[in-house]
C-alpha cells in the first residue's frame, strides 16, 4: 500500500488537570480560593496511522481513553504533546474546517433537531455543510436504495425509536461525504435485527463511498461484522494494533472448555457456581502450576475453563476434574473475539 494515511497520530499524549474537590460547604468555598489539582494521563504516547477506506475498531475498557482520542481527532480537544493530522490538517487548529470533512455519531445522543422531521434536519445540514444539490440528491437516492427510509423522513426525531434514530444519525453523518466517520457505540441499546441492519448499512456506506470509519464499541458482534483491524487501548496506552485474524491466530491454541455439573436449577445458583468456579481454579493451579493461563468462571449454568493447549491438554484437565466431580454435560468452543479482547484487557498479551 503506497497510499498516504488519512489519519496520522504521532506520539500523542494528553494530560488532564483534575480538581481535587473538598467535601462539604466549607470545602467548596475553600476550592474557590485555593485549588488543588492532580494530573491524570488520559493518553500517553500513542502512535498510529489509519489508511483511507479502513474500518478500524477502536476498543478498550471504560475510561481507557477512547473518547479522549476521538475528541482530539475531531478537534474538540488539543493534545498536550505529539502530532495529529486528519486529512493532512491539524484538527484543533481549525475545528470548523476539520468538521467539514468528518462525520460523528454518538450512540444515544442524536445530533438531529429533536422536533423536526428528519428530512428537514437533512435540509439544514445541506446548508450548514454547503452540500451540492447533486451530491445531496445522489446521497438521498443511495440511502433509499440501502435502507428504504423514505417513510421515516417525515417523522420528527422525538417520535422515533432509538434504532430509527441511530439509523438516521448515521445517514446524516455520511450526508456531506466526509472522508472520516467516527461512530461511538452505534449499536448500544438496540435489538438484534436493528443491530444487524445498522452493521449492514455501515459496511455498505464504507464500500460505496470508501469512507474511513473509526468505530468504538463494547459489542464484539460489531467488531466481527465490520472491522478487519482493531486497535486496543487501556489506561491511555496502546496495547494492540493489528488485524483481527492475527489476534485469533495468536490465541489459536486457546479453547474454552464448558462443563456442567448439575441440571437441577436449584444447584445452579449464581452463588453456588461462583463457589465451584473458585474451587476448581485453585485446585487446577495447584495441580498444573506450569499452565499459567488457565482461568475459570461461571457462565449461566456452565463453568467455563479457559485453556491454552500449548501449555496443557484439555483431556488432562477433564480427567482431573472428573476424579472429584460428576460432569453431566461438556462443550468445547473456539475462542470468541469477546474472550480474546477480555483476555487482552486483563493483560494476556505482552
Amino acid at each position: 500500500m503506497n497510499m498516504e494515511p488519512i489519519i496520522q497520530i504521532k506520539n500523542v499524549s494528553k494530560e488532564f488537570k483534575v480538581l481535587n474537590r473538598r467535601e462539604g460547604l466549607m470545602g467548596s468555598i475553600k476550592d474557590l480560593f485555593s485549588r488543588n489539582y492532580k494530573i491524570i494521563n488520559a493518553i500517553s504516547n500513542i502512535t498510529m496511522d489509519i489508511m483511507p477506506g479502513e474500518i478500524v475498531g477502536y476498543l478498550g475498557p471504560n475510561g481507557a481513553g477512547k473518547s479522549t482520542t476521538i475528541k482530539m481527532m475531531t478537534g474538540v480537544l488539543k493534545p498536550t504533546s505529539g502530532e495529529i493530522l486528519v486529512n493532512g490538517r491539524v484538527p484543533y487548529e481549525n475545528r470548523t474546517k476539520n468538521a467539514q470533512n468528518i462525520g460523528v455519531v454518538f450512540g444515544q445522543r442524536t445530533q438531529l433537531w429533536w422536533a423536526l422531521p428528519v428530512i428537514e434536519s437533512f435540509k439544514i445540514l445541506k446548508e450548514i455543510y454547503r452540500i451540492d444539490d447533486k451530491v445531496y440528491n445522489d446521497n438521498l437516492e443511495l440511502y433509499n436504495n440501502l435502507v428504504g427510509v423514505k417513510e421515516l423522513y417525515s417523522k420528527p426525531v422525538r417520535q422515533m425509536s432509538l434504532g430509527q434514530r441511530t439509523l438516521c444519525d448515521i445517514l446524516a453523518a455520511f450526508l456531506h461525504n466526509p472522508s472520516v466517520v467516527f461512530l461511538d457505540e452505534p449499536t448500544i441499546g438496540l435489538d438484534v435485527t436493528m443491530k444487524s441492519k445498522i452493521r449492514e448499512l455501515i459496511t455498505e456506506l464504507n464500500r460505496v463511498k470508501n469512507t474511513t470509519v473509526i468505530l468504538t464499541t463494547h459489542d464484539m458482534g460489531d467488531v466481527d461484522a465490520l472491522c478487519k483491524r482493531i486497535i486496543i487501548i487501556d489506561k491511555g496506552t496502546r496495547i494492540y494494533d493489528n488485524s483481527i485474524e492475527n489476534l485469533k491466530d495468536y490465541f489459536g491454541a486457546y479453547r474454552t472448555l464448558k462443563l456442567m455439573f448439575s441440571k437441577n436449577p436449584e444447584d445452579n445458583t449464581e452463588e453456588n457456581l461462583n463457589k465451584i468456579a473458585a474451587e476448581i481454579q485453585t485446585s487446577l493451579h495447584k495441580e498444573f502450576p506450569s499452565a499459567e493461563n488457565i482461568a475459570v468462571c461461571s457462565n449461566e449454568e456452565w463453568i467455563d475453563i479457559f485453556i491454552n493447549e500449548d501449555e496443557i491438554k484439555m483431556m488432562e484437565i477433564m480427567n482431573f476434574i472428573q476424579n472429584t466431580r460428576n460432569i453431566v454435560d461438556v462443550k468445547i468452543t473456539e475462542i470468541s473475539t469477546e474472550s480474546v479482547i477480555k483476555k487482552i484487557y486483563e493483560g494476556g498479551v505482552k
Binding site: 474538540v76 480537544l77 468538521a99 433537531w113 422536533a115 439544514i124 420528527p156
Partner: protein, 271 residues
C-alpha cells in the same frame, strides 16, 4: 477581498438561522394551544406590572420628578430591549441540563460556530407577546409625552433599543456559562434573570453603591434608563448614554468569549 469573505460568512449564518427558524416555527404551530397560552401568560405578567404602576401613580403623582408617562416609557422600552434575550437566546436555559448529562458534546462537531449553532436551536415564541406589549406601552407613553416622531429619532430609538438588548443577553450568556464550572448554575441564572425587573426604574432612586453596581457590575441601568435619557432628558444626556452601544458590544463580546471558553474547556473534560 477580506471584506467580501466576511459578508459572505454573515450571509451564510443569516441564511442558516432563517432556515432553522422557519422549521422551528412550523413545528411549533403543531402546539397552537401552547403558543397561545404562553403568550397570554407573558402578556398577563406585563399587564399586572402595568396595573401595579397605575395603582402606584393613583397615590403618588411622580417619583423623583419622573412622571407616570415617563415611567411608562422606561417600562415599555425595557420590555422591548428584553425581547431579544427571550426570543433568540432562550436555549441558554437548557444549557446546564445538556452539560450535566453530557449531551452538550453533540454540538461540537459541526463546521460552524459553536455558540451560534447552540443558540440557533431554540426560538422562544413567548417573546412575541412581550414585544407586542412593550411596543404598545412605549407608543402610549410616547404619545402622551408629546414626543416628536422624525426619521432621526426613529433611527436613534432603533440603535438605542439594539444596544440596550445586548446587555441582558450578555448577562444571561455569562450566567448560563457558569454551568461549565459550577454545579449550581440554575440558581445563578434565576438570580441574574430577576435583575431585569429592576431595569424599569430610574437609577437615580438608588444610592451610590447600587448605582455603581447597576452601571458597571450588573449593568441593568443600560437596559432602559441610560438609553431613554436621549428621549426623555435630551438636554442633559450623560456620556455613558452615548457610549452604551460600544459598551454593549464589548460586553456581549466578553460574554461570548466566556461562553466559548467554558464550552471548549468542558468538552475536553466532560464525559
Amino acid at each position: 477581498m477580506k471584506i467580501k469573505k466576511k459578508t459572505n460568512t454573515l450571509r451564510y449564518y443569516a441564511h442558516i438561522y432563517r432556515m432553522i427558524l422557519a422549521q422551528d416555527l412550523k413545528s411549533k404551530m403543531n402546539y397552537r394551544a401552547d403558543f397561545i397560552i404562553s403568550n397570554v401568560g407573558i402578556i398577563a405578567t406585563n399587564v399586572s406590572g402595568f396595573i401595579a404602576f397605575w395603582i402606584m401613580f393613583q397615590n403618588f403623582p411622580s417619583i423623583l420628578n419622573w412622571t407616570y408617562y415617563e415611567m411608562m416609557f422606561l417600562y415599555g422600552f425595557s420590555l422591548i430591549a428584553l425581547t431579544p434575550v427571550q426570543l433568540f437566546f432562550d436555549n441558554n436555559w437548557n444549557l446546564r441540563f445538556q452539560v450535566y448529562s453530557g449531551d452538550f458534546i453533540r454540538y461540537c462537531f459541526r463546521p460552524i460556530n459553536l455558540f451560534f449553532y447552540y443558540i440557533s436551536e431554540v426560538f422562544d415564541i413567548k417573546g412575541i407577546g412581550q414585544f407586542a406589549f412593550g411596543a404598545g406601552t412605549l407608543i402610549y407613553a410616547w404619545k402622551n409625552l408629546g414626543l416628536s416622531v422624525t426619521p432621526l429619532i426613529i433611527l436613534k430609538l432603533i440603535i438605542a433599543l439594539f444596544s440596550a438588548s445586548l446587555f441582558m443577553i450578555a448577562i444571561m450568556n455569562i450566567a448560563a456559562a457558569t454551568c461549565f464550572w459550577i454545579t449550581n448554575s440554575g440558581i445563578v441564572m434565576v438570580f441574574m434573570f430577576n435583575f431585569k425587573d429592576y431595569a424599569r426604574y430610574p437609577i437615580t432612586i438608588f444610592n451610590s453603591i447600587f448605582r455603581f453596581i447597576f452601571t458597571f457590575i450588573i449593568p441593568i441601568a443600560f437596559i432602559a434608563y441610560y438609553p431613554s435619557l436621549i428621549f426623555l432628558r435630551p438636554d442633559n444626556v450623560p456620556l455613558l448614554t452615548y457610549l452604551s452601544p460600544f459598551i454593549g458590544i464589548i460586553f456581549f463580546y466578553i460574554s461570548y468569549k466566556v461562553w466559548i471558553t467554558g464550552a471548549m474547556q468542558y468538552s475536553g473534560t466532560g464525559s
